[in-house]
């Protein structure tokens, strides 16, 4: 089966800096795929190469089997990209913007689909408003609409919810989820890890231009299996408790426990040692913990 996006040993150098260092990954058709990483990890560079906006120094990228350089026409027809930068053409209204974008992809009489996209993104009432007069959140919606005018089978969203209100995030995700159910492949980068955790089936984590983790969201979460317990105590914690310690934040001790029965053991040990607990919190590891663990500097982690 042809991958929706196939990235094969892609390297991008700017002078001596390797923005991307031999990246390999494949996004399967129909997948909801997350691309995460700290600022400067190379996410946007990778997306720009997929979109044909930037040329890789070496390596190849194909969208639905079409090479983005040699078969650029077919690759671009198959791809819809929501760029991170809030760009717009100040001369035109929302509808004009979308009609032009359809035309660029060779589509005439695309009005019905444009209406539907406008409706789904809550833009219908703004259809005849000039782009200049829109708020930042509304402009962001138009960017999403522009990426969807040609019904691309593969949709890439580069931080679509950055600086966007809760309402749009809800509207956007329900629409994108629907597109995914209908068979569109979705690739998402986001700073909101809870979004990635809720939406993405598989996640690649980038750091300094390299893929440092590539797995299903579930498997990534399982890497930090067990429970996390936060204790705020007066008096020294007994050694049997401290052996679970993984971190200390603002006077609270963070423990990792392998099973629920350990919770009782910790509490009993504290009571036996005469520690008075001011606060206790028990929860599961989330993607943020995984993310921090994978992307943080190993030397620093040991020292902590």
């Amino acid at each position: 089966m042809t991958a929706a996006i196939q990235v094969s040993s892609v390297t991008k150098r700017y002078g001596s800096l390797a923005a991307l260092d031999s990246i390999d990954l494949a996004v399967e058709p129909g997948e909801f795929f997350g691309l995460l990483g700290p600022n400067g990890a190379g996410k946007t560079t990778l997306i720009s190469i997929i979109a044909g906006l930037v040329r890789a120094t070496s390596g190849r990228v194909a969208v639905l089997g079409h090479d983005v350089v040699d078969d650029a026409r077919a690759a671009r027809l198959a791809l819809g990209v929501v760029p991170q930068e809030l760009a717009f053409d100040p001369f035109f209204t929302v509808r004009e913007t979308l009609v032009f974008q359809s035309g660029y992809f060779g589509l005439r009489a695309n009005g019905a689909w444009i209406d539907e996209v406008l409706e789904n993104l809550g833009l219908t009432s703004k259809a005849d408003t000039n782009m200049r007069a829109l708020s930042g959140g509304m402009k962001r919606r138009v960017l999403v609409a522009q990426a969807l005018v040609h019904k691309p089978p593969v949709i890439v969203l580069d931080e679509p919810t950055a600086g966007v209100d809760v309402e749009l995030r809800q509207t956007l995700w329900s629409f994108i989820r629907r597109l995914n159910r209908e068979g569109h492949t979705i690739v998402l980068t986001t700073h909101y890890l809870e979004e990635a955790q809720a939406l993405c089936q598989r996640i690649a984590m980038l750091k300094s231009g390299r893929v440092v983790a590539l797995d299903s969201t579930r498997a990534l979460l399982a890497r930090l299996a067990g429970l996390q317990m936060t204790l705020r105590a007066r008096g020294a914690l007994p050694p049997s408790v401290l052996q679970h310690r993984i971190d200390e934040r603002d006077g609270a001790v963070l423990l990792r426990l392998s099973q629920p029965s350990d919770v009782a053991a910790v509490l009993n040990a504290c009571a036996a040692a005469g520690c008075i607990l001011d606060d206790v919190e028990v929860g599961r590891a989330d993607l943020e913990d995984v993310f921090l663990q994978i992307t943080s500097d190993p030397a620093k982690r040991k020292a902590a």
Binding site: L53, A87, G103, G106, L107, A109, G111, E182
Partner: protein, 276 residues
């Protein structure tokens, strides 16, 4: 007819569209051309009315001051001589301004991405930007002509020559504007290109005088300026008189167009400064 409208709720992926690759390429080209034309039309006060006014002011001032003193071509009044020069100068400057400002603006605003993401070929991009530049140049030229003709009754000795030079000259400047717009990263770089290359070249091309009135050295220099041939050939269409044989001028202008055309296409094909 395409199947674009089939199934309102059908958002399954797939490339919906046009009947053939050829027709969808034509739609894409036409859309970009229309968008580029609307871009200047929507601000026509600034892009059409303003240059027309500038030219009329030139005519009023220079025509009034020099009418009695200068006879650039035998049997032609200075004001009549000046009209085609001003018309052609407006055509050229506005053709350049259109493609260059469209590109630099969309580069700086970031909206160029909407043209870079779709599957345009470099020929389509070139064709749309240059054609829009020619249209803007010709529209402004017609505006300047319509108003200045009121001051000096026009003559049409060989109008097809004028048309050929207007279109070819505008196309060359449109292509040059494309090159400048691709090269420039900032507005002031583009302004430098405009102020230090395009303005002097158009001003020193014989808009306001016949090069026969120049000292031999400067006559020689003028013959290296392609803008001189554009103005001279365009003016030939009015009076059937020129400094240079119009066929030679046409060949020079066509050559200059071929060169700028080749450079612009090569830059677009390589994605120079557009797809780094």
């Amino acid at each position: 007819m395409s199947t674009t409208n089939a199934g309102l709720a059908d958002i399954r992926p797939g490339v919906p569209v046009a009947a053939s690759a050829e027709s969808s390429a034509a739609v894409a080209f036409r859309t970009l051309l229309v968008k580029e034309m609307l871009r200047f039309w929507k601000v026509s006060f600034q892009t059409i009315a303003a240059p027309v006014l500038t030219s009329v002011l030139y005519l009023l001032v220079f025509g009034h001051v020099l009418e009695e003193h200068v006879e650039a071509l035998p049997g032609v009044s200075y004001t009549s001589f000046l009209v085609p020069g001003l018309v052609m100068m407006s055509v050229l400057q506005n053709a350049f301004a259109n493609s260059s400002s469209s590109l630099i603006q969309s580069k700086i605003m970031g909206s160029l991405i909407f043209v870079l993401l779709p599957p345009f070929s470099h020929w389509q991009l070139f064709g749309a930007y240059v054609t829009a530049a020619v249209v803007r140049g010709v529209v402004v030229g017609v505006g300047v002509f319509a108003i200045t003709a009121w001051f000096a009754p026009p003559s049409f000795a060989a109008p097809l020559w004028s048309l050929a030079f207007a279109i070819l000259g505008a196309a060359m400047l449109g292509a040059l504007g494309l090159i400048a717009g691709i090269w420039a990263d900032k507005f002031d770089q583009l302004a430098a290109f405009q102020n230090f290359i395009v303005m002097p070249a158009t001003f020193l091309s014989g808009v306001f005088y016949s090069v026969h009135g120049l000292p031999p050295f400067w006559q020689g220099v003028s013959h290296f300026n392609p803008f001189f041939y554009m103005i001279d050939g365009f003016r030939y269409g009015f009076f059937a008189q020129s400094d240079v044989n119009p066929w030679i001028s046409l060949a020079v202008v066509a050559g200059a167009f071929a060169v700028t055309c080749g450079i612009a296409l090569a830059l677009l094909a390589r994605g120079f400064k557009l797809r780094n």
